[in-house]
Each structure stands twice: as C-alpha cells, then as structure tokens.
C-alpha cells in the first residue's frame, strides 16, 4: 500500500468518526437540554415529560412486568403481519403475472385500494373481526400487502424482453419462465421491498393498537394520552423508536447478507 493511499484511508476513517461524534453529540445535547429546560421549569414537564421521567416510567413498567409484554406484543404482531404480507404480495403478484387478462381486470381495483387510506377500513374490520389481535393484524396486512403486491407485480412485468425471449427459446412452459427467470431476477426487488413491508406493518400495527388493544406500544401511547399521562406517551414513542430501528436493522442485515451471497 502506498503512503498516499494510507493517508487517504486515514482521512476516510477520520471523517467517519467525525460524523459519528456529530450524531452522538446532537443526541446528548438534545437530552440534556430537554432535562435542563424542564428542571428549570422553562418548559412544562407535564406536557413534554422529561428524560428522567421517561426512564422512571420505563423502570416502573419493568418492575410491574409490563414492559416486555408491550414490546413483545407489538413486535410479534408486526412480524406476523410482515410475513403474511410478504407471502400475500408475492403470491398475488405471481398470479397476476401469470394471467394478463386477470391483471387487467384487477388493475382499477388495485389502484383504488392502493390510494384508499386504509385507516378508513378500521371500523369495518373491528365490526367484522371484533376487538381482537386478529383485527390489528388484518389492518396491518391490508396496509402493507397492497403496496407490496403492486411493487412486486411491477418487478415481475419489468423483465428484459431479451431474457424472456431467451428462456422461451428453450421452453414453452410459463411455469419454467417464472421459475428460471421471473422470480430469481426479482429477488432484489423483493429484498428491497422487505424494508417497505416492515415499516408499513409497524404503522399498521400501531394504528390497530390505537383502535383496539389492551397491550402493545400503540396501546401505551393511546392509554397515556387518554389519561393525560404524557410520561407514558413519550415512553411509548421512545420504545417505538427503539423497536422500529431494531426491526429496520434486522432487515438491513438480511439484505446485506443476501448481497454477500451473490457478490
């Protein structure tokens, strides 16, 4: 390695550390300011809570054995919705791909469903499925699976004509075309939709928990706001940040892992 290159790498590392420090600093300043301003009563801790109070709330929840029940509930529901939505998205996209006529028939309905804010269906789902976990999960699935179906279907339809011609020169079977070309060439599309799916699922679950539940992070936030316990609301939001980030990085990890196997 040349001296110059070493210097370049050093600069690069320096820059990375600088960025990381910057990010951490902002976080710490934010927390300290928040605490100080509420301690000095410049802003009202009853309305905005404070870092200390949030930590207290979390430790209370923990000692009542409630903390992990809420977190687990939300994660569990999100993952179920995520998995089911992925399966629904892939299966429906595959069916639509296999029949152009069916796809054309369904097109306007998919567009309507996609543009409809799915929250509006909340009350109906509640009536049909009751105030149960099932309702929450169904709502989340509705939210994420439609976008997913459309994205994956578009991926299936967007295949290089030449590659299709090539496979067709070997076989007339539509299934083989799907199996050897359409599906494998869309694995990157599917992988990149995992992220969309997990965040959509989480949105759906939180929304569902707002409407229905007796546990989960969404419930914490909703309950907190109903009894005007802003500490609980803020705690819920903090927990949500942690859960969302964890799930995101989980997917990110899967993505990287996949990239490694193909590069």
């Amino acid at each position: 390695m040349s001296k110059e290159h070493q210097k370049y790498l050093k600069e690069l590392r320096k820059k990375k550390i600088l960025i990381f420090l910057g990010q951490i600093t902002i976080f710490i300043i934010f927390i300290i300011l928040w605490q100080l301003l509420t301690d000095m009563k410049i802003i009202d801790a009853f309305i905005v809570s404070s870092p200390k109070k949030i930590i207290m709330t979390i430790s209370n929840l923990y000692s009542n054995n409630n903390l992990f029940i809420h977190i687990e509930t939300t994660i569990y529901e999100t993952i179920i919705s995520f998995v089911v939505s992925m399966i629904i998205g892939i299966v429906i996209a595959s069916i639509l791909w296999s029949s152009q006529v069916l796809a054309k028939v369904c097109e306007p309905y998919l567009t309507i469903l996609n543009s409809l804010p799915k929250v509006a269906l909340g009350p109906i789902i509640l009536i049909w499925f009751g105030t149960t976990t099932t309702s929450i999960i169904i709502m989340a699935i509705l939210i994420s699976s439609i976008v997913l179906t459309i994205n994956i279907y578009n991926g299936f339809m967007n295949i290089d004509e030449n590659k299709i011609k090539l496979v067709k020169s070997f076989t007339k079977s539509k299934f083989k075309l799907y199996y050897y070309l359409i599906f494998p060439s869309n694995i990157p599309t599917i992988i990149s939709n995992l992220k969309i799916c997990i965040s959509m699922s989480l949105i759906g679950i939180i929304m569902g928990e707002f409407l229905v539940s007796k546990k989960g992070i969404g419930y914490l936030i909703m309950y907190g706001s109903q009894v005007f316990n802003l500490d609980l609301v803020m705690t819920g939001i903090v927990l949500l940040c942690v859960v969302a980030t964890t799930l995101y990085y989980l997917i990110y990890y899967i993505e990287k892992k996949y990239e490694k196997t193909t590069h």
Binding site: D160, N162, L166, S169, P184, I187, T262
Partner: protein, 246 residues
C-alpha cells in the same frame, strides 16, 4: 452436401389492432450442412420474424419447414446473461430448463469454456466480464444444448467495432471447430460477407428473397483478414446495391 433445413414458401402475417402486417412472404431456402448463412435486408423487413419461426417461437401463417430431425439453438441480439448466475450456470441454463442436464453435458460445457478463453471465469459473475467475453458465454450457452443449427439475431450489434471483429473471428473458429451450421441475421454487410458463405438478401416488406449470393473465401482466412482483400470489396458492393434502403 446434406440438407439440414428446408424452408418452403413460408409466410407470416401479424394481426394487430391496426390491421394486418405481412412480414415475410413465400420464403424458400435450403440450408446445407456446414453452411454459414447471413440474412440481410432493410430494418423491419422480417428477419427476426423468420428466425423466430425457425426456432418455433412463432408459427408460420403458411408454408412448411422440414427440420430433418435436427435441433436448433438460438442466440439473441443482447447477451441476456442472468446476472444472478455465474458463468457456468448461465451456460447450463438451457439444459436445466429442458431437463437435460447431466454430468456428460456439463463436462462438455466446461470443456467449451476452457477451450474458448473462459477458463478462469467459470465461477465469475457476468458483471465481471468484458463485452466480448459475455458474447462468448452467450455463444457457449447456445452450444450447450448441442444444436446442429445455430440461429443468431444481430448478436454483436451492441459491441464496439474492435470487439465485433474479434467476436466474428471467435464465432467463425468456434462454430467451424464444433461443426455447426449457422444462420445469422445482421445489418452489417461486412460482417455478412466475411463470416458467411451465403448471403440472403431480403426485400422490404412484405419481404421476399431478392437474391442469394455465394461467397467464396479461402476457409483458412479469418473473417477479420478477409476485409483486406479485393474480393471483399466486390462482394460488399454486390450485396450493398441489392438492399432496399429507404
């Protein structure tokens, strides 16, 4: 010489919402063993159509094709390599799809890869290959199913001039060595007259065969070298005058 493929009075009419398009009309052609046949003609005249029919991807509207129990391989305009498969798996894809993959055929393919300069790239992915190498992989992929006749549809048009000269030589050497018969569509007259022993000129649509030229170069002169001969110029002029340019 043996007849490998007999095309008799083949026509193709496409039906579109706007009307009928007669792409090709009464095409008759005999392909003999070892022939390298170039098909040239104005763009949109029906060259690709003819190849698709020969390959069985489209049905002819009229006419007959006798394959004499020979098999056909097909190579397209772009290499269409699958970027999620390595070079070997790309070459085996036809065999896999046809359910004909076995050890012997795999060995045959690996042997071809070794022989034609891809030895160190068997497990590489396509994105790491040069344009010329990708074309060779695509060629070996179409040879993997051991076709008697190879159809090529403007296979090198995406390459730069220098690579085209090289791949022209490669194709010539490889196909001669493997005893294949070739039908190649090209818009490049130089490519047609240097690579092939027959040049079929199609008219504009509805296209028919205007003329068939026999090209007689010494077998041992490589296509790229043929360009420097006066014979080349004569053939070039002959074919060029025959094509209906709009």
């Amino acid at each position: 010489m043996n007849n490998l493929l007999s095309i008799k009075n083949v026509s193709k009419v496409y039906h579109t919402p706007k009307g009928e398009i007669t792409a090709i009309k009464n095409i008759s052609l005999n392909v003999e063993e070892g022939d390298f046949i170039a098909i040239v003609g104005p763009s949109g005249c029906g060259k690709s159509t003819l190849l698709s029919i020969l390959n069985g991807q489209e049905d002819a509207s009229n006419g007959e094709i006798d394959y004499h129990h020979k098999t056909i391989g097909y190579m397209l305009q772009e290499d269409a390599l699958f970027d999620w498969l390595n070079v070997l798996d790309n070459c085996l894809i036809g065999l896999k799809i046809k359910g004909k993959l076995n050890e012997e055929r795999k060995k045959y393919v690996i042997n071809l890869l070794n022989k034609y300069g891809l030895k160190d790239f068997i497990y590489s992915y396509p994105r790491n290959l040069s344009g010329g190498m990708r074309q060779r992989v695509a060629l070996i992929r179409s040879l993997a199913i051991k076709p008697d006749i190879l159809l090529m549809d403007e296979p090198f048009s995406a390459l730069d001039f220098q690579s085209r000269l090289n791949i022209s030589n490669d194709v010539y050497n490889i196909l001669k060595a493997e005893h294949k018969t070739l039908i190649i569509v090209t818009h490049d007259i130089s490519e047609a007259v240097t690579l092939c022993n027959k040049v079929v000129v199609l008219s504009k649509r509805p296209s028919q065969i205007k003329n068939i030229y026999n090209i007689n170069f010494d077998e041992n002169i490589l296509p790229s070298k043929r360009r420097n001969t006066s014979l080349f110029n004569d053939y070039y002029q002959l074919v060029w005058r025959e094509i209906d340019y709009e």
